[in-house]
Symmetry: C2
DNA sequence: CGAATTTTTGATTTATCTCAACAACCGTGG
DNA sequence: CCACGGTTGTTGAGATAAATCAAAAATTCG
């Protein structure tokens, strides 16, 4: 259903209105490989887009024509089984690069959780940029490598960790990604169903496990979004499968 | 324990004795990106090695100094939890490329299942080659992308498929990789414990599931290694989670 | 051949799922 | 502002797929 892809996905008027020079995520994204003087060319190769919450902006099985760079917001990256079972393979946020494929169709779907802003590069345009700026290809390879390492870690979690260990691992990863202060306190932008589908659990098990960790004083969860990590040490050893937690 | 790494891993005498020109996996590996006239340079950048069955030749956490290209044999790629739980993230075989890392330590271990022959490239040497032959970097990126797609598929398996669906998926993947004839018949080079740790199951569950598939006439398993797929259709729909199987 | 390992089978337990109900939250419109 | 319907989150009781425990059979290898 390509229709779903386009609905409420508003292309921004003109590249010039989104200058790469002032892009908030340029320095942490693959675009950092393009030297300042060539930013105009980079911007010219991209099309900006916005996906409102809930909107599917990449669909598994569709022709993979573009690479995407997330500018802001958070998206769920997932695969489905025919009967609707869903595995979320990751959450993409500002600075992330999407669309690496082997075949010429996307291997995953991407859906906006909150409002997602992105830049879209056609394969041919990005390939041309990579030819002219080898540092860009190197940067993309670095990104792919880190995704691969993260994927292996997630396979360990899905294949061998208990529900408690999975939730602890997830909270720590979120904390590392978002929390600045100590004690680490942060927001979960995704609903419980997303956490469950990311950790290979059910919603109920995620909720029960969070409650238990709260009762044990390892974390605080006032409302559904806000989390405070109270005992980082214990949570860490739990996440790593050390019994002494 | 670096000692374990070196034990029985015999470096081949001289690069000239392993000419890339006659390498059986050159055309299917990243090395295919290097034009014929430059094969001597490629060979000069590599060190050959052999790992006998059971030998650890990459260890998680050790400094990631080299990339490896598998020439022949099969290796288990895995991660461990402190208490010994193991997740095999993949099986590397001839033509595969190992060692992509973000940090400067390996994120996984690699152990020979049967005798594994490989070529070892230091990071600096391969980086120099990629600089001089952009097609090589492109090839490595392609490989990383396909690994990433495979990893996402495996996350779906580990997070959302039943034991039956996992075993069916595994058999089909093995069949696609090895079997030529129809009805597909092939050999499982790895023991049951490896299959279990790859699929996030126990040995007993793998065995019981194979028996059940055999009793239902979907496959034949005479001894522990040899498998024949009798009903490819049913196995495929089982693997994809379609209830009609 | 005999010890060690791997594979297979059976009996039982358990972590997690399923099902069911209720509570909290959210945006909408009266 | 508040009532409303729909979504998301939480809790409990019971079901179950897969794990664990135990032991026998088959295979490998010195």
């Amino acid at each position: 259903m390509s229709a779903a892809l386009d609905f409420r996905v508003v292309p921004l008027p003109h590249p010039a209105l989104r200058p790469c020079a002032t892009c908030a995520v340029r320095r942490i994204s693959v675009c950092d490989a393009i030297p300042e003087p060539f930013l105009a060319r980079l911007g010219g190769a991209a099309t900006g887009g916005v996906a409102r919450p809930g909107i599917l902006f990449i669909e598994e099985g569709e022709p993979a024509a573009d690479f995407l760079n997330i500018v802001s917001g958070t998206a769920r990256i997932y695969k489905l089984l025919p009967d609707g079972r869903r595995q979320i393979t990751g959450f993409a946020k500002g600075g992330d690069f999407l669309g690496l494929a082997v075949s010429n169709t996307y291997a995953f779907s991407a859906e906006a959780i909150d409002t997602v802003r992105y830049c879209r590069f056609s394969h041919s345009r990005l390939r041309a940029l990579m030819r002219d700026f080898p540092a860009l290809e190197e940067r993309v390879l670095k990104f792919a490598s880190s995704e691969l390492v993260a994927a292996q870690e997630q396979m360990l979690l899905l294949g061998r960790k208990s529900a408690r260990e999975r939730v602890a691992s997830f909270l720590l990863a979120q904390s590392d990604a978002y929390a600045q202060r100590s004690p680490a306190c942060f927001v979960l932008p995704m609903p419980r169903g997303d956490i469950a589908d990311y950790l290979g659990l059910t919603i109920e098990t995620v909720v029960r496990t969070l409650r238990k960790l709260r009762n044990e004083g390892l974390i605080e969860v006032s409302n559904a979004q806000d989390v405070v990590i109270r005992d980082h040490m214990s949570l860490r050893s739990l996440a790593n499968g050390l019994r002494a937690a």
